[in-house]
Amino acid sequence: MTASLKSRESLLIAVIVALLLIIASRFPAFIERGSLIGVFNDTSPLIILAIGQALVILTRCIDLSVAANLALTGMVCAMLNVAFPGLPVAVILLVALCLGAIMGAINGVLVWKLSIPPIVVTLGTMTIFRGVIFLISDGEWVNAHEMSATFTGFPRSELLGLPMLSWIAILVALLFFLIVARTPLGRAFYAVGGNPNAAVYTGLNVGRTQFLAFVISGTLAGLTGYLWVARYSVAYVDIAGGFELEVVAACVIGGISIAGGAGTVLGAILGALFLGIIKNALPVVGISPFWQLAISGSAIVVAVAFNARSQRSKGRIILKRAEATT
């Protein structure tokens, strides 16, 4: 009980509630139901990507290509919609998921089979994916009037008062709560990241597990690609530029250790919500949106320092207990 109270997740929840209360004390309209739904909906893409990124970081890798993957998938979906306006949304969703998975698999294979460091692989594929968008689109924009109403309408359509985009984020979150907590694959992510050598001796294929994490991250990026383009009704080369950093920031703030093996899906979601609330609150409080980059940068640095500290104290406690028993 005390452990769960002291955990990163409960700390983050407390910080988020405090943040909301502080904003509400000056601007009560911010915590009205409609406004909060808006904030959650706006943060949904970040939540979906942060869940995928969390799995990748758990296995001691990092995926910097998610934003480029998102943009490329989004562009392909938009161009498909322009070419075949009658294509049902289900088909588009399927295309987005598959295309994202393929790009994730490319990262994964390079990490698994050639054991190239993930940061190098994904820095490279990040620029390649962005370049490919330019090649297929000729640098042109796909604008709202070219897209069909069903294509752009899907993420905005409401169900029980929540937009579809939010529902998808909730669904993804529930799905990965289950996968991580209740399936062998979910536990393998922790085992591989926590101690790769030990994981090999327990019969886990480290490379394959990392490959699967990249495929999941890519698939979720692909899904977000369609949702993003449909929500903002525009597709061009630079959409979601630099978003990969925000995704990594959400994970780090959520307590996912960059050294692998430690952190939870809930933490990543809370990290994303924290960033999302700040982003939405800035214009309300009257601070220029140009401050956002510096704020999320400082949040990363503070969170990393925090992660390191909490791990250090944990190590000490284990040592003391071990000494006490002998």
Partner: protein
């Protein structure tokens, strides 16, 4: 596997054979090939002034790449270098509005770089944080401060003499930047390959614990390396700002990728422990020539970035594929 990897050969291969088999030789051959292909495919390539212009494609990045190479050899990385350029340039721009002289502008540029490098170094060595995440954080932070200061505005109005650093020529087509690049290359080559400090850098990259027990102050060496990277980013910021004559917060956006690519292409092991400065110099020329050649053929910048991304992965993947295929 017929060869037993544990068997240590009685004698090393002769120095000549080792040089011929080295990564640098291969890279040099690639550079020459690119040079020949470029001269054949565009009539504008073989022109002293054009070639001189082409050097601006890599001189500023290469200055940082030398310091980054040492950092990567020591097992760390700094992804915030491009953002340090942005912050240093913003600081100089703000100072230029107050009509300070050129020497002070230069000091401010270098000083900002050093402060940023010291900040990274402190976070990594003082608090013991992983450099990848720390510098991803400071990458947002440093550029974020530029955005806070400038928003969608730009600084102009640098003093006329300030233009010399980025636009001046020392002799005929030899630009000031190129001379600076050459001097820095020699200094770094000597420091890395001929001094105790350089040996310490390699030792740390191969085995930090072993280095510590052989009396190397690991954290201090790493701190100095971060400081040097910041310093080089500050110097690059002076050259770039002087060359462009203006500062926007998006200045040098994405350069960290190109600099890391340059370092890896130069044969520096991304996991640390090995590499050489001459390799980075040749890699700088390869990347500069490729970008310039493609530019002459009207290939847009973003398509070149596909090429650079593939180069980055290919350079590491090919030797591994090759050894997999042989075994």
């Amino acid at each position: 596997m017929t060869e037993n990897p544990r068997v240590i050969p009685d004698r090393l291969e002769s120095p000549a054979v080792r040089v011929l088999k080295s990564w640098e030789t291969l890279l040099l051959a690639v550079a020459v090939a690119i040079f020949v292909v470029n001269s054949l495919s565009s009539p504008y390539f073989l022109n002293a002034w054009n070639l001189s212009d082409a050097t601006f494609n890599f001189t500023e990045k290469a200055m940082i790449a030398f310091a980054m190479a040492m950092l990567i050899i020591a097992g760390e990385i700094d992804l915030s270098v491009a953002s340090i350029i942005a912050l240093a340039s913003t600081a100089m721009g703000a100072a230029a509005q107050l009509d300070v002289g050129v020497p002070l502008l230069v000091l401010i540029g270098i000083g900002t770089g050093l402060v940023c490098g010291a900040f990274n170094g402190f976070l990594v060595t003082g608090l013991g944080l992983p450099s990848i995440v720390v510098t991803i954080g400071t990458m947002s932070l440093f550029r974020g401060i530029s955005f806070m200061v400038l928003g969608d505005q730009a600084y102009r109005g640098y003093p006329a003499e300030f233009a010399y650093f980025g636009q001046g020529y020392v002799w005929w087509v030899i630009s000031f930047e190129f001379v600076l690049f050459a001097i820095i290359a020699v200094v770094y080559a000597v420091v890395l390959h001929k001094t105790n400090f350089g040996r310490a850098v390699f030792a740390i990259g191969n085995n930090p614990t072993g280095a510590l027990f052989s009396g190397i102050r690991v954290q201090r060496v790493k701190f100095i390396l971060f400081l040097l990277t910041g310093l080089m980013a500050g110097i690059a910021a002076i050259c770039l700002t002087s060359r462009l004559g203006s500062t926007r917060p998006s200045i040098a956006l994405g350069w960290e990728l190109e600099i890391v690519t340059m370092v890896v292409l130069g044969g520096i092991n991304i996991l640390g422990g090995s590499g050489s400065i001459p390799g980075v110099v040749i890699a700088a020329f390869v990347m500069g020539l490729v970008t310039f050649g493609l530019g002459l053929l009207n290939v847009p910048g973003i398509v070149m970035s596909i090429f650079i991304g593939m180069l980055l992965i290919g350079v590491i993947a090919l030797p591994r594929l090759w050894s997999m295929w042989r075994s």
